[in-house]
Amino acid sequence: MKPRYAPYFFLAPFFTLFTVFMVYPLFDSIRLSTYSVRGMQNQTFVGLENIERLIADPLFWTALWNTAYFAAGSLLLQLPVALALALLLSNARLKGRNLFRLSFFSPVLISGVFIAVIFYLLYDRRYGLVNRVLGSEIQWLQDPDLVMPALVLAGVWRWAGFNMVYFLAGLQSIRQELYEAAAVDGAGPWQSFVHVTIPALKPVIAFVVITSMIGSFQLFDLPYVLTEGGPGNASMTMVMYLYKHGFEFINLGYAATIGWALAVIIGVISIIQVRLFGVFREN
Protein backbone atom coordinates (compact mmCIF):
# COMPACT_ATOMS: atom_id res chain seq x y z
CA MET A 1 0.00 0.00 0.00
CA LYS A 2 1.44 3.36 -1.02
CA PRO A 3 1.45 6.02 1.72
CA ARG A 4 -0.75 8.33 -0.36
CA TYR A 5 -3.55 5.78 -0.40
CA ALA A 6 -3.14 4.91 3.28
CA PRO A 7 -5.50 7.57 4.74
CA TYR A 8 -8.30 6.53 2.40
CA PHE A 9 -7.78 2.91 3.39
CA PHE A 10 -7.98 3.84 7.08
CA LEU A 11 -11.11 5.94 6.56
CA ALA A 12 -12.89 3.35 4.44
CA PRO A 13 -14.56 1.40 7.29
CA PHE A 14 -16.20 4.47 8.82
CA PHE A 15 -17.31 6.05 5.57
CA THR A 16 -18.60 2.77 4.16
CA LEU A 17 -20.79 2.15 7.20
CA PHE A 18 -21.82 5.80 7.37
CA THR A 19 -22.87 5.82 3.71
CA VAL A 20 -24.74 2.52 3.75
CA PHE A 21 -26.43 2.86 7.13
CA MET A 22 -26.90 6.61 7.54
CA VAL A 23 -26.66 8.61 4.30
CA TYR A 24 -28.59 6.15 2.15
CA PRO A 25 -31.36 5.70 4.79
CA LEU A 26 -31.66 9.48 5.17
CA PHE A 27 -32.38 9.79 1.44
CA ASP A 28 -34.52 6.68 1.39
CA SER A 29 -36.67 8.13 4.13
CA ILE A 30 -37.46 11.08 1.83
CA ARG A 31 -38.70 8.56 -0.72
CA LEU A 32 -40.59 6.55 1.92
CA SER A 33 -42.32 9.65 3.22
CA THR A 34 -44.03 10.08 -0.16
CA TYR A 35 -45.36 6.53 -0.12
CA SER A 36 -48.05 4.70 1.73
CA VAL A 37 -46.08 1.66 2.86
CA ARG A 38 -48.15 -1.09 4.39
CA GLY A 39 -45.74 -3.99 4.67
CA MET A 40 -42.68 -4.48 2.51
CA GLN A 41 -44.42 -5.47 -0.73
CA ASN A 42 -47.27 -2.99 -0.62
CA GLN A 43 -46.07 0.51 -1.53
CA THR A 44 -48.20 3.18 -3.24
CA PHE A 45 -47.02 6.65 -4.18
CA VAL A 46 -49.10 9.27 -2.38
CA GLY A 47 -47.05 12.44 -2.86
CA LEU A 48 -47.44 14.92 -0.04
CA GLU A 49 -50.38 13.13 1.54
CA ASN A 50 -48.30 11.98 4.56
CA ILE A 51 -47.17 15.52 5.27
CA GLU A 52 -50.73 16.86 5.00
CA ARG A 53 -51.88 14.11 7.32
CA LEU A 54 -49.08 14.89 9.78
CA ILE A 55 -50.00 18.57 9.98
CA ALA A 56 -53.62 17.67 10.62
CA ASP A 57 -52.77 14.92 13.11
CA PRO A 58 -53.57 16.13 16.67
CA LEU A 59 -51.65 13.22 18.19
CA PHE A 60 -48.49 14.30 16.40
CA TRP A 61 -48.80 17.74 17.98
CA THR A 62 -49.41 16.15 21.38
CA ALA A 63 -46.25 14.07 20.96
CA LEU A 64 -44.31 17.15 19.87
CA TRP A 65 -45.62 19.13 22.84
CA ASN A 66 -44.70 16.37 25.31
CA THR A 67 -41.23 15.98 23.82
CA ALA A 68 -40.64 19.73 23.89
CA TYR A 69 -41.88 19.80 27.48
CA PHE A 70 -39.34 17.14 28.43
CA ALA A 71 -36.55 18.95 26.58
CA ALA A 72 -37.39 22.28 28.22
CA GLY A 73 -37.67 20.60 31.62
CA SER A 74 -34.26 19.01 31.16
CA LEU A 75 -32.76 22.31 30.16
CA LEU A 76 -34.25 24.32 33.02
CA LEU A 77 -33.93 21.75 35.78
CA GLN A 78 -31.30 19.19 34.90
CA LEU A 79 -28.55 21.48 33.64
CA PRO A 80 -28.59 23.80 36.68
CA VAL A 81 -28.52 20.72 38.91
CA ALA A 82 -25.59 19.34 36.92
CA LEU A 83 -23.74 22.66 37.19
CA ALA A 84 -24.46 22.86 40.93
CA LEU A 85 -23.08 19.34 41.44
CA ALA A 86 -19.96 20.29 39.50
CA LEU A 87 -19.48 23.49 41.53
CA LEU A 88 -19.81 21.56 44.79
CA LEU A 89 -17.19 19.08 43.59
CA SER A 90 -14.86 21.60 41.99
CA ASN A 91 -12.54 21.95 44.97
CA ALA A 92 -9.68 19.51 44.43
CA ARG A 93 -8.95 19.25 48.16
CA LEU A 94 -12.43 17.96 48.89
CA LYS A 95 -12.31 14.67 50.80
CA GLY A 96 -14.14 11.76 49.16
CA ARG A 97 -14.38 13.66 45.89
CA ASN A 98 -14.09 10.55 43.71
CA LEU A 99 -16.73 8.76 45.72
CA PHE A 100 -19.21 11.66 45.41
CA ARG A 101 -18.51 11.94 41.71
CA LEU A 102 -18.99 8.23 41.17
CA SER A 103 -22.29 8.30 43.10
CA PHE A 104 -23.67 11.16 41.05
CA PHE A 105 -22.53 9.49 37.85
CA SER A 106 -23.80 5.99 38.64
CA PRO A 107 -27.34 6.35 37.14
CA VAL A 108 -25.74 6.93 33.72
CA LEU A 109 -24.49 3.35 33.76
CA ILE A 110 -28.03 1.96 33.88
CA SER A 111 -30.14 1.14 30.83
CA GLY A 112 -33.30 3.22 30.42
CA VAL A 113 -35.38 0.06 30.74
CA PHE A 114 -34.08 -0.56 34.24
CA ILE A 115 -34.43 3.08 35.20
CA ALA A 116 -38.05 2.83 34.11
CA VAL A 117 -38.53 -0.26 36.28
CA ILE A 118 -36.92 1.48 39.26
CA PHE A 119 -39.12 4.58 38.86
CA TYR A 120 -42.19 2.43 38.33
CA LEU A 121 -41.63 1.20 41.86
CA LEU A 122 -40.62 4.63 43.23
CA TYR A 123 -43.76 6.30 41.85
CA ASP A 124 -46.19 3.58 42.95
CA ARG A 125 -49.28 5.10 44.54
CA ARG A 126 -49.26 3.03 47.73
CA TYR A 127 -45.87 1.37 48.01
CA GLY A 128 -43.68 3.87 46.19
CA LEU A 129 -40.89 5.56 48.11
CA VAL A 130 -41.81 9.02 46.77
CA ASN A 131 -45.32 8.93 48.21
CA ARG A 132 -44.10 7.40 51.46
CA VAL A 133 -41.60 10.17 52.02
CA LEU A 134 -44.23 12.79 51.16
CA GLY A 135 -46.92 10.97 53.14
CA SER A 136 -49.21 11.22 50.11
CA GLU A 137 -50.99 8.88 47.74
CA ILE A 138 -50.39 10.78 44.51
CA GLN A 139 -50.85 8.86 41.26
CA TRP A 140 -47.76 10.23 39.57
CA LEU A 141 -47.94 8.09 36.46
CA GLN A 142 -51.73 7.90 36.13
CA ASP A 143 -52.43 11.63 36.32
CA PRO A 144 -52.15 13.32 32.89
CA ASP A 145 -50.94 16.54 34.54
CA LEU A 146 -48.23 14.87 36.60
CA VAL A 147 -46.84 12.24 34.26
CA MET A 148 -44.54 14.57 32.28
CA PRO A 149 -43.14 16.30 35.40
CA ALA A 150 -42.54 12.81 36.83
CA LEU A 151 -40.61 11.85 33.68
CA VAL A 152 -38.59 15.08 33.80
CA LEU A 153 -37.59 14.29 37.40
CA ALA A 154 -36.56 10.76 36.39
CA GLY A 155 -34.55 12.37 33.59
CA VAL A 156 -32.80 14.65 36.06
CA TRP A 157 -31.83 11.67 38.19
CA ARG A 158 -30.59 9.80 35.14
CA TRP A 159 -28.56 12.47 33.31
CA ALA A 160 -27.50 15.18 35.79
CA GLY A 161 -24.39 13.23 36.77
CA PHE A 162 -23.42 12.79 33.14
CA ASN A 163 -23.51 16.50 32.38
CA MET A 164 -21.83 17.20 35.71
CA VAL A 165 -18.68 15.52 34.38
CA TYR A 166 -18.56 17.99 31.48
CA PHE A 167 -19.08 20.99 33.74
CA LEU A 168 -16.45 19.68 36.13
CA ALA A 169 -13.90 19.43 33.34
CA GLY A 170 -14.82 22.93 32.23
CA LEU A 171 -14.41 24.32 35.74
CA GLN A 172 -11.00 22.72 36.09
CA SER A 173 -9.80 24.39 32.92
CA ILE A 174 -10.56 27.90 34.26
CA ARG A 175 -7.31 29.57 35.28
CA GLN A 176 -7.11 30.46 38.95
CA GLU A 177 -5.66 33.92 38.20
CA LEU A 178 -9.00 35.00 36.76
CA TYR A 179 -10.63 34.49 40.15
CA GLU A 180 -7.76 36.22 41.92
CA ALA A 181 -8.05 39.19 39.58
CA ALA A 182 -11.79 39.35 40.24
CA ALA A 183 -11.19 39.22 44.00
CA VAL A 184 -8.68 42.08 43.72
CA ASP A 185 -11.38 44.08 41.93
CA GLY A 186 -13.62 43.45 44.92
CA ALA A 187 -15.92 40.82 43.40
CA GLY A 188 -17.86 38.60 45.81
CA PRO A 189 -18.52 34.89 45.17
CA TRP A 190 -21.73 35.61 43.23
CA GLN A 191 -20.12 38.28 41.05
CA SER A 192 -17.12 36.13 40.23
CA PHE A 193 -19.53 33.29 39.37
CA VAL A 194 -21.44 35.52 36.95
CA HIS A 195 -18.47 37.36 35.48
CA VAL A 196 -15.73 34.70 35.53
CA THR A 197 -17.20 31.20 35.79
CA ILE A 198 -20.15 31.51 33.41
CA PRO A 199 -18.26 33.22 30.53
CA ALA A 200 -15.37 30.76 30.85
CA LEU A 201 -17.79 27.83 30.79
CA LYS A 202 -19.58 29.05 27.67
CA PRO A 203 -18.18 26.43 25.26
CA VAL A 204 -18.99 23.63 27.69
CA ILE A 205 -22.47 25.03 28.35
CA ALA A 206 -23.07 25.19 24.59
CA PHE A 207 -21.93 21.61 24.16
CA VAL A 208 -24.07 20.33 27.03
CA VAL A 209 -27.18 22.30 25.98
CA ILE A 210 -26.99 21.06 22.39
CA THR A 211 -26.29 17.42 23.24
CA SER A 212 -29.01 17.31 25.91
CA MET A 213 -31.50 18.85 23.50
CA ILE A 214 -30.73 16.25 20.85
CA GLY A 215 -30.90 13.53 23.51
CA SER A 216 -34.18 14.83 24.98
CA PHE A 217 -35.88 14.89 21.60
CA GLN A 218 -35.14 11.17 21.27
CA LEU A 219 -36.81 10.23 24.55
CA PHE A 220 -38.18 6.73 24.18
CA ASP A 221 -37.33 3.96 26.64
CA LEU A 222 -38.47 5.71 29.83
CA PRO A 223 -42.08 6.43 28.79
CA TYR A 224 -42.26 3.26 26.67
CA VAL A 225 -41.67 0.98 29.66
CA LEU A 226 -43.02 3.26 32.40
CA THR A 227 -46.32 4.52 30.98
CA GLU A 228 -46.67 3.19 27.41
CA GLY A 229 -47.33 6.81 26.49
CA GLY A 230 -50.28 7.05 28.86
CA PRO A 231 -52.47 7.91 30.58
CA GLY A 232 -54.31 8.52 27.31
CA ASN A 233 -51.46 10.02 25.29
CA ALA A 234 -50.22 12.31 28.03
CA SER A 235 -46.65 10.97 27.84
CA MET A 236 -46.49 10.07 24.15
CA THR A 237 -43.18 11.27 22.70
CA MET A 238 -42.13 11.76 19.10
CA VAL A 239 -39.86 8.71 18.86
CA MET A 240 -42.59 6.63 20.54
CA TYR A 241 -45.10 7.90 18.02
CA LEU A 242 -42.68 7.09 15.21
CA TYR A 243 -42.16 3.62 16.67
CA LYS A 244 -45.92 3.03 16.99
CA HIS A 245 -46.61 3.92 13.37
CA GLY A 246 -43.58 2.16 11.96
CA PHE A 247 -43.47 -1.02 13.97
CA GLU A 248 -46.88 -1.53 15.56
CA PHE A 249 -49.24 -0.23 12.85
CA ILE A 250 -46.67 -1.11 10.12
CA ASN A 251 -47.26 2.23 8.48
CA LEU A 252 -43.67 2.87 7.36
CA GLY A 253 -44.37 5.81 5.06
CA TYR A 254 -46.04 7.82 7.78
CA ALA A 255 -43.36 6.83 10.32
CA ALA A 256 -40.64 8.05 7.93
CA THR A 257 -42.51 11.36 7.69
CA ILE A 258 -42.50 11.65 11.49
CA GLY A 259 -38.76 10.89 11.37
CA TRP A 260 -38.22 13.78 8.97
CA ALA A 261 -40.29 16.12 11.09
CA LEU A 262 -38.10 15.16 14.04
CA ALA A 263 -34.95 15.72 11.96
CA VAL A 264 -36.09 19.17 10.88
CA ILE A 265 -37.03 20.18 14.43
CA ILE A 266 -33.73 18.95 15.91
CA GLY A 267 -31.83 20.59 13.05
CA VAL A 268 -33.52 23.95 13.51
CA ILE A 269 -33.04 23.91 17.29
CA SER A 270 -29.37 22.94 16.92
CA ILE A 271 -28.73 25.71 14.41
CA ILE A 272 -30.43 28.29 16.62
CA GLN A 273 -28.35 27.17 19.58
CA VAL A 274 -25.11 27.09 17.62
CA ARG A 275 -25.85 30.66 16.48
CA LEU A 276 -26.81 31.77 19.98
CA PHE A 277 -23.63 30.44 21.50
CA GLY A 278 -21.47 31.29 18.51
CA VAL A 279 -19.78 27.90 18.92
CA PHE A 280 -17.92 27.68 15.63
CA ARG A 281 -17.20 31.38 15.31
CA GLU A 282 -13.58 31.22 16.50
CA ASN A 283 -12.57 28.39 14.15
Partner: protein
Protein backbone atom coordinates in the same frame (compact mmCIF):
# COMPACT_ATOMS: atom_id res chain seq x y z
CA UNK B 1 -11.90 26.01 51.54
CA UNK B 2 -10.46 28.33 54.17
CA UNK B 3 -13.96 29.27 55.28
CA UNK B 4 -15.16 26.53 57.71
CA UNK B 5 -18.85 27.48 57.31
CA UNK B 6 -18.64 27.10 53.56
CA UNK B 7 -16.80 23.81 53.88
CA UNK B 8 -19.46 22.44 56.21
CA UNK B 9 -22.30 23.53 53.94
CA UNK B 10 -20.55 21.95 50.95
CA UNK B 11 -20.20 18.61 52.72
CA UNK B 12 -23.76 18.64 54.06
CA UNK B 13 -25.14 19.36 50.59
CA UNK B 14 -22.93 16.73 48.97
CA UNK B 15 -23.98 14.07 51.45
CA UNK B 16 -27.67 14.94 51.11
CA UNK B 17 -27.45 14.79 47.32
CA UNK B 18 -25.54 11.52 47.44
CA UNK B 19 -28.27 10.02 49.60
CA UNK B 20 -30.88 11.31 47.16
CA UNK B 21 -29.10 9.81 44.15
CA UNK B 22 -28.21 6.50 45.74
CA UNK B 23 -31.52 5.79 47.50
CA UNK B 24 -33.23 4.40 44.38
CA UNK B 25 -30.22 2.15 43.77
CA UNK B 26 -30.16 1.06 47.38
CA UNK B 27 -33.87 0.33 47.04
CA UNK B 28 -33.12 -1.96 44.08
CA UNK B 29 -30.54 -3.94 46.04
CA UNK B 30 -32.74 -4.15 49.10
CA UNK B 31 -35.88 -5.15 47.19
CA UNK B 32 -34.01 -7.89 45.30
CA UNK B 33 -33.48 -9.72 48.57
CA UNK B 34 -36.97 -9.19 50.00
CA UNK B 35 -39.66 -11.87 49.83
CA UNK B 36 -42.59 -10.60 47.73
CA UNK B 37 -44.77 -9.91 50.79
CA UNK B 38 -42.23 -7.58 52.36
CA UNK B 39 -41.92 -5.23 49.37
CA UNK B 40 -45.54 -4.27 49.92
CA UNK B 41 -45.38 -4.10 53.71
CA UNK B 42 -46.34 -0.95 55.55
CA UNK B 43 -44.43 0.86 57.00
CA UNK B 44 -41.64 0.14 54.49
CA UNK B 45 -38.53 -1.72 55.56
CA UNK B 46 -35.22 -0.35 54.38
CA UNK B 47 -33.22 -3.51 54.85
CA UNK B 48 -34.84 -6.85 54.12
CA UNK B 49 -36.14 -8.22 57.44
CA UNK B 50 -36.12 -11.73 56.09
CA UNK B 51 -33.45 -11.78 53.33
CA UNK B 52 -34.04 -14.36 50.64
CA UNK B 53 -32.55 -15.45 47.32
CA UNK B 54 -36.00 -16.44 46.09
CA UNK B 55 -36.16 -13.58 43.55
CA UNK B 56 -32.88 -14.67 41.98
CA UNK B 57 -33.75 -18.37 41.86
CA UNK B 58 -37.12 -17.59 40.29
CA UNK B 59 -35.45 -15.27 37.80
CA UNK B 60 -33.07 -18.04 36.74
CA UNK B 61 -35.84 -20.64 36.63
CA UNK B 62 -38.50 -18.66 34.80
CA UNK B 63 -36.35 -16.61 32.44
CA UNK B 64 -33.42 -17.53 30.17
CA UNK B 65 -31.44 -14.88 32.04
CA UNK B 66 -28.08 -16.60 31.44
CA UNK B 67 -28.84 -16.57 27.73
CA UNK B 68 -29.61 -12.84 27.89
CA UNK B 69 -26.33 -12.14 29.69
CA UNK B 70 -24.42 -14.17 27.08
CA UNK B 71 -26.21 -12.36 24.24
CA UNK B 72 -25.66 -8.92 25.74
CA UNK B 73 -22.00 -9.65 26.38
CA UNK B 74 -21.46 -10.97 22.86
CA UNK B 75 -23.24 -8.02 21.27
CA UNK B 76 -21.57 -5.34 23.38
CA UNK B 77 -18.11 -6.90 22.99
CA UNK B 78 -18.32 -7.22 19.20
CA UNK B 79 -19.68 -3.70 18.95
CA UNK B 80 -16.84 -2.36 21.10
CA UNK B 81 -14.07 -4.15 19.18
CA UNK B 82 -15.39 -2.96 15.82
CA UNK B 83 -15.85 0.57 17.15
CA UNK B 84 -12.24 0.60 18.40
CA UNK B 85 -10.95 -0.55 14.99
CA UNK B 86 -13.04 1.97 13.02
CA UNK B 87 -12.28 4.86 15.35
CA UNK B 88 -8.52 4.32 15.69
CA UNK B 89 -8.07 3.87 11.94
CA UNK B 90 -10.20 6.92 11.12
CA UNK B 91 -8.62 9.01 13.87
CA UNK B 92 -5.13 8.02 12.65
CA UNK B 93 -5.94 9.11 9.09
CA UNK B 94 -7.23 12.52 10.20
CA UNK B 95 -4.46 13.15 12.72
CA UNK B 96 -1.36 12.05 10.85
CA UNK B 97 -1.92 12.33 7.09
CA UNK B 98 -2.57 15.28 4.85
CA UNK B 99 -4.62 14.23 1.85
CA UNK B 100 -7.14 15.58 -0.62
CA UNK B 101 -10.57 16.02 0.89
CA UNK B 102 -9.42 15.87 4.51
CA UNK B 103 -11.23 19.04 5.53
CA UNK B 104 -14.51 18.02 3.92
CA UNK B 105 -14.37 14.48 5.25
CA UNK B 106 -13.61 15.68 8.76
CA UNK B 107 -16.52 18.12 8.59
CA UNK B 108 -18.74 15.17 7.60
CA UNK B 109 -17.53 13.24 10.65
CA UNK B 110 -18.34 16.21 12.91
CA UNK B 111 -21.77 16.65 11.31
CA UNK B 112 -22.49 12.92 11.66
CA UNK B 113 -22.18 13.32 15.43
CA UNK B 114 -25.21 15.62 15.32
CA UNK B 115 -27.46 13.15 13.46
CA UNK B 116 -29.63 11.25 15.93
CA UNK B 117 -29.59 7.55 15.12
CA UNK B 118 -33.33 7.25 15.74
CA UNK B 119 -34.17 9.40 12.73
CA UNK B 120 -33.38 6.60 10.32
CA UNK B 121 -35.09 3.76 12.19
CA UNK B 122 -37.67 3.16 9.46
CA UNK B 123 -35.45 3.27 6.34
CA UNK B 124 -32.83 1.19 8.19
CA UNK B 125 -35.46 -1.38 8.94
CA UNK B 126 -36.45 -1.67 5.27
CA UNK B 127 -32.75 -1.83 4.32
CA UNK B 128 -32.14 -4.71 6.72
CA UNK B 129 -35.19 -6.44 5.28
CA UNK B 130 -33.66 -6.21 1.80
CA UNK B 131 -30.33 -7.54 3.11
CA UNK B 132 -32.15 -10.36 4.90
CA UNK B 133 -30.52 -9.15 8.11
CA UNK B 134 -33.59 -8.82 10.32
CA UNK B 135 -33.31 -10.91 13.48
CA UNK B 136 -29.52 -11.14 13.12
CA UNK B 137 -26.74 -9.69 15.28
CA UNK B 138 -24.95 -8.08 12.34
CA UNK B 139 -28.25 -6.31 11.71
CA UNK B 140 -28.06 -4.86 15.22
CA UNK B 141 -24.34 -4.07 15.26
CA UNK B 142 -23.36 -2.71 11.83
CA UNK B 143 -26.00 0.04 11.41
CA UNK B 144 -25.31 1.21 14.96
CA UNK B 145 -21.63 1.62 14.00
CA UNK B 146 -22.61 4.24 11.40
CA UNK B 147 -22.73 6.54 14.44
CA UNK B 148 -19.02 5.99 15.21
CA UNK B 149 -18.22 9.59 14.28
CA UNK B 150 -17.72 10.51 17.91
CA UNK B 151 -15.17 7.71 18.28
CA UNK B 152 -13.26 8.85 15.18
CA UNK B 153 -13.20 12.40 16.54
CA UNK B 154 -12.12 11.28 20.00
CA UNK B 155 -9.28 9.11 18.69
CA UNK B 156 -8.10 11.89 16.38
CA UNK B 157 -7.75 14.17 19.39
CA UNK B 158 -5.57 11.62 21.17
CA UNK B 159 -3.52 10.59 18.13
CA UNK B 160 -2.67 14.25 17.44
CA UNK B 161 -0.59 14.02 20.61
CA UNK B 162 1.55 11.11 19.35
CA UNK B 163 4.90 12.59 18.14
CA UNK B 164 5.22 12.40 14.35
CA UNK B 165 8.95 11.64 14.73
CA UNK B 166 8.01 8.17 15.96
CA UNK B 167 6.11 7.55 12.74
CA UNK B 168 8.91 8.86 10.54
CA UNK B 169 11.48 6.75 12.38
CA UNK B 170 9.35 3.67 11.76
CA UNK B 171 8.99 4.59 8.05
CA UNK B 172 12.78 4.87 7.68
CA UNK B 173 13.04 1.39 9.18
CA UNK B 174 10.79 0.21 6.35
CA UNK B 175 7.62 -0.29 8.37
CA UNK B 176 4.47 -0.31 6.23
CA UNK B 177 1.69 2.21 6.86
CA UNK B 178 -0.47 -0.48 8.41
CA UNK B 179 2.52 -1.58 10.48
CA UNK B 180 2.82 1.95 11.82
CA UNK B 181 -0.85 1.93 12.74
CA UNK B 182 -0.57 -1.42 14.45
CA UNK B 183 2.83 -1.15 16.16
CA UNK B 184 3.19 2.59 16.83
CA UNK B 185 -0.25 4.19 17.05
CA UNK B 186 -2.20 1.46 18.82
CA UNK B 187 0.27 1.04 21.71
CA UNK B 188 0.48 4.83 22.10
CA UNK B 189 -3.26 5.38 22.47
CA UNK B 190 -4.20 2.44 24.69
CA UNK B 191 -5.58 4.66 27.50
CA UNK B 192 -7.81 6.50 25.04
CA UNK B 193 -9.02 3.17 23.71
CA UNK B 194 -9.97 2.31 27.27
CA UNK B 195 -12.19 5.39 27.45
CA UNK B 196 -13.76 4.71 24.08
CA UNK B 197 -14.40 1.07 24.88
CA UNK B 198 -16.43 2.04 27.96
CA UNK B 199 -18.50 4.41 25.82
CA UNK B 200 -19.06 1.72 23.23
CA UNK B 201 -19.73 -1.06 25.68
CA UNK B 202 -22.10 1.05 27.78
CA UNK B 203 -24.04 2.22 24.73
CA UNK B 204 -24.42 -1.24 23.22
CA UNK B 205 -25.14 -2.93 26.56
CA UNK B 206 -27.91 -0.46 27.39
CA UNK B 207 -29.44 0.18 23.95
CA UNK B 208 -33.07 -0.82 23.84
CA UNK B 209 -35.04 0.50 20.88
CA UNK B 210 -32.80 -0.63 18.01
CA UNK B 211 -32.30 -4.27 19.12
CA UNK B 212 -36.03 -4.40 19.89
CA UNK B 213 -36.78 -3.50 16.28
CA UNK B 214 -34.23 -5.88 14.72
CA UNK B 215 -34.48 -8.94 16.95
CA UNK B 216 -37.57 -11.13 16.80
CA UNK B 217 -36.48 -14.45 18.28
CA UNK B 218 -36.63 -14.24 22.10
CA UNK B 219 -33.59 -16.54 22.30
CA UNK B 220 -31.52 -13.68 20.82
CA UNK B 221 -32.75 -11.03 23.28
CA UNK B 222 -30.37 -8.83 25.25
CA UNK B 223 -30.83 -8.05 28.96
CA UNK B 224 -32.86 -4.83 28.49
CA UNK B 225 -35.12 -6.58 25.97
CA UNK B 226 -35.56 -9.58 28.24
CA UNK B 227 -36.32 -7.40 31.25
CA UNK B 228 -38.75 -5.24 29.27
CA UNK B 229 -40.66 -8.37 28.26
CA UNK B 230 -40.64 -9.38 31.93
CA UNK B 231 -42.22 -6.04 32.86
CA UNK B 232 -45.17 -6.88 30.65
CA UNK B 233 -45.76 -10.29 32.19
CA UNK B 234 -44.81 -9.63 35.79
CA UNK B 235 -45.98 -6.05 36.38
CA UNK B 236 -46.45 -6.69 40.08
CA UNK B 237 -43.40 -8.95 40.60
CA UNK B 238 -41.18 -6.14 41.84
CA UNK B 239 -38.76 -8.48 43.60
CA UNK B 240 -37.92 -10.35 40.41
CA UNK B 241 -37.72 -7.14 38.38
CA UNK B 242 -35.35 -5.64 40.92
CA UNK B 243 -33.19 -8.77 41.01
CA UNK B 244 -32.95 -8.66 37.21
CA UNK B 245 -32.09 -4.98 37.30
CA UNK B 246 -29.37 -5.57 39.88
CA UNK B 247 -27.86 -8.40 37.80
CA UNK B 248 -27.68 -6.22 34.71
CA UNK B 249 -26.11 -3.26 36.49
CA UNK B 250 -23.32 -5.27 38.15
CA UNK B 251 -21.18 -6.07 35.06
CA UNK B 252 -21.26 -2.50 33.82
CA UNK B 253 -20.51 -1.15 37.30
CA UNK B 254 -17.50 -3.47 37.60
CA UNK B 255 -16.22 -2.39 34.19
CA UNK B 256 -16.70 1.25 35.08
CA UNK B 257 -14.91 0.98 38.42
CA UNK B 258 -11.98 -0.71 36.72
CA UNK B 259 -11.64 2.02 34.10
CA UNK B 260 -13.03 5.11 35.81
CA UNK B 261 -9.99 7.31 35.20
CA UNK B 262 -9.87 6.67 31.44
CA UNK B 263 -13.59 7.20 31.15
CA UNK B 264 -13.69 10.62 32.80
CA UNK B 265 -10.68 11.62 30.71
CA UNK B 266 -12.38 10.50 27.51
CA UNK B 267 -15.81 11.91 28.24
CA UNK B 268 -14.45 15.39 28.78
CA UNK B 269 -12.01 15.58 25.89
CA UNK B 270 -14.69 16.23 23.28
CA UNK B 271 -16.23 19.08 25.25
CA UNK B 272 -13.20 20.92 26.50
CA UNK B 273 -10.53 20.73 23.86
CA UNK B 274 -11.31 22.80 20.77
Amino acid sequence: MRNPVRTTITYVLLILLTVLVLTPLFWVVSASFKPSGEIFSYPPTFLPQDPTLENFTRLFQEMPIVQYVVNSTFLATSHTLLLLAIATMGGFAFAKYSFRGRGVLFAIVLASMMIPFHLVLVPLFTLLYQFGWLDTYQGVILPYLASSGFGVFLMRQFILGVPSDLLDAARIDGTSEFGIYWRVIIPAVKPAMGALSIFGFLGAWNEFLWPMIVLRDAAKYTLPLGLASLVGVYRQEYGMLMAGTLLSILPILALFLAMQREFVQGITLGAVKE
